[in-house]
């Protein structure tokens, strides 16, 4: 019984420590404050979003989350698109616990699978800013440019495929491609 409590406690702290704490999202294609407000309201409708601070001039939304929130980048992106706009740039502050990242490998950090495109064996510890560079999270130009980082098919699809067999991911599971 004690063992179970210990496992639960360990799991719980692991989740708390290794989560997305903040997201800074820049939307593209808007010119007016009413458009900006529609994104603002749309983001606020997510239940685990605590606060959205918007910089209307640069169309940037700084989002903080409720404690223990399971942040879903795809949901944030969908909310921007529901408002009729697109994500130009999404940066997240993520808590890491001594994670050594290698090229073309996948890492599960608090329930989110990451593929660090520009990894070269560096150790990530504490709060780090990552940028999601999947399709729809950057401009088409940047997406094309980042193809230089990897040959793996999962970069183009955003989900695990035959290229990801060695990392033990189920076919079709979501992988977020990021740069540090």
């Amino acid at each position: 019984m004690k063992k179970i409590f210990l496992i639960i406690a360990v799991l719980f702290t692991a989740t708390l420590q290794a989560q997305v704490t903040k997201v800074s999202l820049q939307a593209s294609g808007l010119t007016c404050s009413m458009c900006s407000n529609s994104i603002n309201k749309s983001l606020q409708s997510i239940d685990y979003v605590e606060k959205v601070m918007s910089d209307i001039k640069s169309s940037t939304f700084n989002i903080t989350f409720k404690p223990g929130a399971n942040v879903n980048f795809d949901q944030l992106k969908k909310k921007v698109e529901d408002a009729g706009f697109f994500v130009a740039n999404l940066k997240a502050i993520v808590q890491f616990d001594n994670l050594t990242v290698e090229k073309d490998n996948h890492y599960n950090v608090a329930g989110i699978t990451y593929h660090f495109l520009n990894a070269s064996g560096q150790k990530l510890n504490g709060e780090q800013t990552i940028q999601v560079v999947d399709k729809g999270y950057v401009s088409a130009k940047v997406f094309k440019k980042n193809q230089l980082y990897t040959q793996m098919e999962c970069y183009k699809t955003g989900v695990a495929g035959t290229c990801c067999k060695k990392t033990g991911l189920a076919d079709g599971s979501r992988i977020f491609h990021v740069t540090i």
Binding site: M34, G84, S139
Partner: protein
């Protein structure tokens, strides 16, 4: 005179910080999914025949059905035929089918359709699906935004049906079809710097609105300048005036003022 106006329109369109929330036309962009907008459109139309103004009140509800589809439903009340009463209504749907997006630019295209009912007697060969005619409009609109400049243009086909209350389209079947075309540009005047959603935005717009009857080849092209206030990033007040620049397609009223009040609710359903 015409050339001068065209040059002004183009200069205006290429000046900085244009807006897409046009007063007399719809852009290719839609309102946010799950939002609802309410409008009260007040039209004051100058009548050549009676040398006076007629008033039309058009309450309108808009809804963002999804990120790509939006709907407008509008009723028309006017004193066009004597007493102030309900003269008809219209349903408008727009589908955004194309969107290329980059950090500082976008190009969007949408297809739209309108169906209108009017119970007024047919009074003019020009087709007006916003009060005077029952009929159908199908069209496409393209909006280009580069940096903070936006230009929008639309082309549509208008079909005039017979009006309700047995009011036949009296000009003959050949005259039932027309081409409608618009070009719009807008510019943000205030605020100079965005700091909060509570700042009132002031936009100036200018639009060209044209129609050519496909049988007679007769046309009108109106110029419609307008000023728009966006209050608390949620309410809109539009004040516009349209007047004819080219005018050989006969209409009862060419010139007129518009006062529109709009209120938007985000995440409404």
């Amino acid at each position: 005179m015409k050339q001068w106006l065209l040059i002004c329109l183009l200069l205006f369109a290429y000046s900085s910080k244009a807006q897409e929330l046009y007063v007399y036309t719809e852009p290719a962009s839609n309102m946010a999914a799950k939002s609802i907008g309410f409008r009260l459109n007040n039209n004051f139309m100058y009548q050549k025949n009676s040398n006076g103004y007629r008033y039309m009140l058009a309450p309108e509800i808009m809804a963002g059905v999804s990120k790509k589809i939006m709907l407008h439903i509008e009723g028309f009340l006017s004193n066009m035929n004597g007493d102030f009463k309900l003269n008809g209504g219209t349903v408008y749907a727009k589908y955004r089918f194309f969107s290329i997006d980059d950090v500082h630019s976008h190009f969007r295209m949408a297809a739209y359709m309108r169906g209108s009912i009017s119970n007024l007697p047919i009074q003019q060969p020009a087709i007006d699906l916003l009060l005077m005619n029952s009929g159908v409009e199908t069209g496409i609109v393209a909006t280009q935004l580069i940096k903070r400049t936006a230009i929008s243009t639309s082309v549509s086909h208008l079909y005039a049906a017979d009006n309700a209350n047995s009011h036949k389209f009296s000009y003959g079947n050949k005259y039932r079809n027309a081409l409608s075309y618009t070009i719009s540009a807008g510019r943000l005047m205030l605020p100079k710097e965005y700091t909060s959603y509570n700042q009132t935005n002031v936009n100036l717009m200018v639009e060209a609105l044209g129609q050519t009857n496909l049988y007679s080849g007769k046309s009108f092209i109106d110029i419609a300048p307008s000023v728009q206030f966006i209050i608390k990033s949620q309410m809109r007040v539009d004040i516009g005036y349209r007047f004819a620049m080219i005018n050989n397609l006969q209409r009862n009223s060419e010139n007129g003022a518009l006062l529109r009040l709009e209120y938007n609710i985000f995440n409404a359903f």
